[in-house]
Structures are given as C-alpha cells and as structure tokens.
C-alpha cells in the first residue's frame, strides 16, 4: 500500500498546485461568501433560498473540480511520459490507478471541506442561524461521496478516451445519473409499455445514481423533522452505494488499463 499512498500524496500535491483548480475553488468560495449576505433578496423563505443557493454553488463547483481534476490524471501522465518512470518501479498498474484516484479524492475532500467551512462561517456571520449547520454539513458530506463517484466515472473514461470526450461523457453521466430516480419513477408507472419499463429498470440499475447521494433537497432543510430516522438510513445506504459503485468503476478501469499500451 505504500506505493498507493505515495502516488496519492503526489497527486494531491499536484492538484493543490494546479492553477485552474485554484481559480475554480476561489470562484466557488467568493460566491459562497457573498451569497448569505443577499438577504434583501427575499424576506420570506430567505433561509431556505440561501441554503439551497449556496449548496447549489458548492455542488456545481465541486462537480467541476471533480471532473477537471480527474479527466487529465492518466492522459497527463502518458503525455508527459512520467508514467514510464512510475511503472518501471515496483508499482502495479492497479496501484497506480488506485493511488491516482485516492489522491484526487483527497484533493476533492480537502476542497469541499474548505468550501463548507467558508460557507458555514459566512452563514453564521450573516445569518447567525446555528440550526442551519447540520443540514449544510450533512449535504456537504454526501457531496464528497457524490463527487468521489463522479471522479471514479471520469477516471474510468480517462483510461480509454481523450480528456475532451471524457469531459462531455462524464458530464452526460452526471446529468443522467442525477435524473435517474425521477425518470425511473415516471417510466415505471402504470400505463407505460413493458419495453419502456424494461429500459427504465436496466438504466436504473446500471447508470451511477447520483440522487442516492443527495440529501440537499428542501427535505433536508424545511422538512427535516418529517424525515427523522430515515434520512440517516438514506445516508448510510448512500455511503455503501458509493463505495460499491466506485469499486465497480475502479475494477473496470483496472481491466481496461491493464490491456492498454502506454
């Protein structure tokens, strides 16, 4: 495992040094600092709007960070030929992939944590509502798992497509995965043909479902009381789901990367 952690550490260091990521991070941070001060926007439902707005900024920034960070991981190493140096050492290909992935997840976690701390500080400073901390923290924790899954998707594609194609493919999977549950819900209602239902079932169980890792909806804020125990269950299942799906994607990446000539 030492090799994996060494690669992960280097990847984390590289990620922190990359200017593009820092710019995205700073834009996200700036939005989050400004957003809670826009209280004059709405006298009614102000809290709800502000929380959903700032969490949306956090989500978008984290998603862009996850994709930008991951799509170049393998291609960059191949392009700069540094991969030869690494693989010529006693490092297996799966260790290389795992190290790269863990490094990018560590970078993502660090950035999401940083943005969440800024968001909470800004909220407490402008709004002073301590009751908002729990739903924001819950959502942010689940964003880490959500973006780790997204990073795994990008990582998988990066083993066989170019970064530009990967960017769009991952974006498409993210959007589709975010809509998976409502689509499944609509397509499996009565009145739909067996073919449509069958398609919905297959899609539902094949495409990574990002809504399984999303506790941001109003439910997390407005109707927190009505969720009670089931939200924690949902989060725990979500964590298991993300680990399982990430495992699938990493294993598939290893399968593809093992056959790839570099």
């Amino acid at each position: 495992m030492n090799q994996v952690f060494a690669i992960a550490g280097t990847t984390l260091g590289e990620a922190i040094r990359r200017r593009v990521l820092l710019i995205i991070l700073f834009v996200g941070l700036a939005f989050m600092i400004i957003a809670p001060s826009l209280s004059e926007l709405t006298p009614r439902g102000e809290r709800h709007v502000l929380i959903t707005m700032t969490l949306a900024v956090l989500r978008i920034t984290a998603a862009i960070l996850a994709v930008t960070l991951t799509v170049y991981l393998i291609p960059n190493e191949i392009e700069r030929r540094t991969i030869y140096t690494i693989l010529s050492k006693p490092v297996q290909r799966y260790q290389f992939l795992l190290g790269k992935y863990l490094g990018s997840v560590a970078a993502l976690t660090l950035m999401i944590a940083l943005m969440t701390i800024v968001l909470l500080a800004a909220f407490l400073f402008y709004q002073g509502a301590r009751s908002d901390i729990a739903p924001i923290v819950r959502s942010a924790i689940m964003f880490i798992f959500q973006m780790s899954l997204l990073a795994a998707v990008a990582m998988f594609f990066s083993t066989f497509v170019t970064p530009v194609v990967n960017f769009f493919l991952t974006g498409f999977v993210y959007i589709f995965g975010t809509l998976m549950n409502p689509i499944f819900e609509n397509l499996t209602t009565k009145g739909q043909s067996t073919l449509v239902k069958g398609f919905a079932w297959v899609a539902h169980y094949i495409i990574p479902n990002f809504q399984n890792l999303d506790v941001t909806p109003g439910a997390a804020i407005e109707a927190a009381q009505q969720l009670r125990g089931s939200e924690l269950n949902f989060m725990m299942y979500g964590v298991v789901y993300s680990f399982t799906y990430i495992g699938i994607l990493l294993a598939l990446s290893v399968l593809v990367f093992d056959r790839r000539e570099v």
Binding site: L41, G45, I175, D214, G218, Q226, L255, D258
Partner: protein, 441 residues
C-alpha cells in the same frame, strides 16, 4: 482462476450489491425526496429547465420563490400564482411555499375596500391539501388547513377541528399551537372535548415543567389552567351543567328571556353596484358582526378544496362577502362593488343577498347572553335551526334581479328593498361614536 476472471467476478458481485442497495434506497428516496409524478417542464424557461434538470431543482425553486416574492411586493398578485405552482412542482418539500402561497391566495386578492375574493378559497384549500400529501409527516400544513377553516372560512368548525386534530397528532407540533384545537372545539359546540383538551395540555405542560424546569412550560401550564377555569365558569354561568342536570329552567340564567333580535334591513343601491345596507337588531353591545353575502342565485361556494389547482377558474361568477359592524342596535354600511369588475362581474340575472349571524361566531361577552347554541336569542322572522344543525342562527335571504344591482330598468330611479317591519335608522351623532382615550392623553 486467472486474475482477470477474479476481477470480473468481483465486478459482478459489486454490481449485484449496488443493485440491491439501490433497490432499498429507492422507496426511501421516493418517500422523502421525490417531487412526485408531476411534470416540471410546463412553465419553465429553457435556462430554468436546464438548471432544474442538472440536479439543481431546489435551487431553481428557491430562485423562482424569490421572484414570486418580488411580484408580491410590487403588487403583481396574478403573477405570483403560476410561480407558486411551479415552485411546488420543483420542490414539493418546501412547506413554506404551500403555507405562504395558501395565505396569499386566501387573503390577498382583495377589492379596494379590503374584502377578500372568496372565490379563491377552494384553491387555497387545494394547495394546502397538495402540500399535506407531499409532506404528511409534519404538523405544519395540517395546522395551516385547520387555520384556513377556523379563521378564513369561519363557517365550518367541524373541519377546522378535524385538521387541528391531525396537526396535534404530530410530535413536532409546537406546544403553544396546541390549544387552538380547544378553541375550534368551542366554536364547533364540543365543550367537553375543549375542556378535555385544555386539561391534556395542562397535564403535558406540568409534566414537562417538572422534568425540565422550562419557564415556557410553566407559562403554558398556567395559561391552560386559566383557560380551563374560564371555560368551567362560562359553562356554569351559561347553564350548560344545569341543562344536563335538568334544572336549567329553575335557575335565573342570562340565557332565559331570549333577546328578541327583531332583525330588519334595508338594501339600497345608491349607485350601480354600490350598495348601502342599513338595519336594526336587538344586540346593543359592540363586537357583534353580521355576515352579509351577495352571490349569484345558483352560485353557492363550497368550502372544500378545489378539484384541481387550476388558477383559471370561472371568474365570471360573483360572490361578495363582508361583515356588518353593529353598534347601538343598528348597522349601516356602504359596500362598493363598482371598482372591481373582475371580482364582481355581475353576469347572472338573479342574485341572493344573505344575512347570517351565529352565536358560535360571537365573542364571549355576547355568548354569555346568547349561549353557545343561541338559546338566548330569538327572532320572529329570521330565526333558523336548519342552517347549522343544533344552533339557533339568524338567517335572512332576499332575492334581487341584476337590474336592481345595476340600478337600471324598473330600478333606475329607486332600487330599495326593505325587509318586513323595517324601521328607519336614525344616526344619533356623538353617542354612536366609540371613543377610546389614548394612553398618551
């Protein structure tokens, strides 16, 4: 087995595992996070649609709610309604939108004399009903529904009771909101239930105070104790217990020798669609308000949720409701319906003018004389017991043609309707004015 084969087996195992986890998660998602099988596409602009499809549904809903708020503040009330609809589609868990939306629909569509447009109330009830379906596990919208029946409809206390009962069943109900159920019981004539509920809250607050020492619980306990005492005194003073014991007639209760309301009224159109209602009745104290309704002869509003949340309801109908403030045994009010043609289109040929007074709607000092069930009031012309079963109410009904309202045709020079026995109201000047000295004087 080769390394590759093992890896493939591992992937298959993980795939089955994620499928199983996903299967468990979907019902939880559906219960807590789903927007339901409602289309969100109608009414959204392409950018809003794109954002909502990108997993930012709640964010778009929040922004639209901000926009709705701006419309509301700038008085563009009609523009708020579709916004409310879209926001509830996008984020059906935003309880605030249902409660604020229903309040807005029920209260804020008014004419220039601040009369609410009652035609909207079924829509408000429908919105809250939909909110309850989407958010059944919290007290909030049950309470809102109860409040709409209790305060705005003000005419169907059984339904108010039903919704408040649902509200207090939820453990998250705020303690200070519980006692409204007792008030609804009282208005519905269920005195024993009201008493029991005050007692329940008192017991709860006492227990909580002993356990936590929370000052608020002490205040709640004391208030409930006081309410309970007041109710017992009122029940005794109004002869409720005596009636149950069969000795009511033997004791000199205030409700004996009923007040003869001797209700008389004159309806006069002073201009087309401007009505002056004057009249007399037997209640001298302030605080009593007689309800007046002017409606199309075949248009009786049912205080039930509308069948659908379609804001394009039939606006060609006319329904005006107001209350006549009474003082010194009389009332005199000018009702101007000429400036709001969309609220009062007057398209039908026949109209009904109704006057209604129920002791259940009366304040306590009047109920002390009239009783909860109106046993202390009578009227030789308009006393009815069939309007609200078990309650003696005042109900007068007059039919007028549209020409009367429009002051044209046979009514061009005189559009006046006097009830039998009408006595002209004479303004008595200073003595009719209530003066309340300022604390600063």
């Amino acid at each position: 087995m080769s390394k590759k084969a093992r890896l493939i087996l591992f992937i298959v195992f993980l795939f089955l595992l994620q499928g199983a986890v996903s299967k468990v998660m979907f019902p939880i998602w559906k219960k807590n996070y789903s927007a339901g099988n409602v289309g969100v596409t109608p009414g959204l602009t392409p950018d809003q649609l794109l954002a909502s499809l990108s997993g930012l549904r709640q964010f778009v809903a929040g922004l639209l709610w901000v926009q709705a708020d701006e419309y509301f503040d700038s008085g563009q009330f009609d523009a708020v309604l579709p916004m409310i609809r879209i926001v509830t589609w996008l984020d059906p868990r935003q309880i605030e939108v249902y409660s604020t939306g229903a309040w807005h629909i029920a209260y804020n569509f008014t004419d220039d004399q601040s009369r609410s447009d009652r035609r909207y109330i079924p829509l408000a009830l429908r919105l809250v009903q939909e909110g309850i379906t989407q958010n059944p596990d919290t007290y909030r919208l049950y309470h809102e529904m109860g409040w709409l029946y209790y305060h705005k409809v003000d005419d169907d206390y059984d339904k108010a009771v039903r919704w408040f009962q649902e509200s207090v069943k939820h453990p998250d109900v705020l303690p200070y909101l519980r006692s409204i159920l007792s008030s609804a019981y009282l208005k519905a004539g269920r005195l024993d239930d009201a008493m029991k509920w005050y007692w329940e809250i008192e017991k709860y607050a006492t227990k909580e105070y002993e356990k936590t020492g929370d000052e608020y619980m002490r205040i709640l306990k004391d208030n409930m104790s006081q309410n309970l005492n007041n109710l017992l005194v009122r029940m005794a003073a109004r002869g409720v217990f005596a009636r149950r014991d069969g000795v009511y007639d033997k004791m000199p209760y205030d409700t004996h020798n009923p007040v003869d309301l001797n209700f008389t009224v004159k309806i006069e159109m002073i201009q087309p669609r401007v009505m002056r209602v004057t009249g007399t009745w037997g209640i001298p104290t302030t605080g009593a308000r007689i309800r007046i309704v002017l409606r199309e002869a075949d248009y009786e509003l049912k205080w039930d949720p509308a069948p659908s949340l379609d804001f394009d309801f039939d606006k060609g109908r006319t329904y005006m409701q107001d209350s006549l403030y009474t003082l010194n045994n009389r009332f005199d009010r000018k009702i101007d319906m000429s400036r709001n043609p969309t609220m009062y289109p007057f398209k039908a040929d026949k109209y009904i003018v109704e006057f209604f007074y129920s002791p259940r709607m009366a304040p306590p000092h009047i109920q002390d004389k009239l009783g909860w069930d109106g046993e202390g009031m009578t009227d030789k012309r308009y006393l009815r017991t069939d309007i609200r079963p078990g309650v003696r109410c005042l109900y007068a009904r007059f039919e007028v043609p549209r020409d009367f309202i429009e002051k044209r045709g046979n009514y061009k020079y005189s559009a006046v309707l006097k009830s039998p026995g009408y006595v002209d109201v004479v303004t008595r000047g200073e003595e009719d004015v209530i003066r309340r000295e300022s604390l600063r004087d």
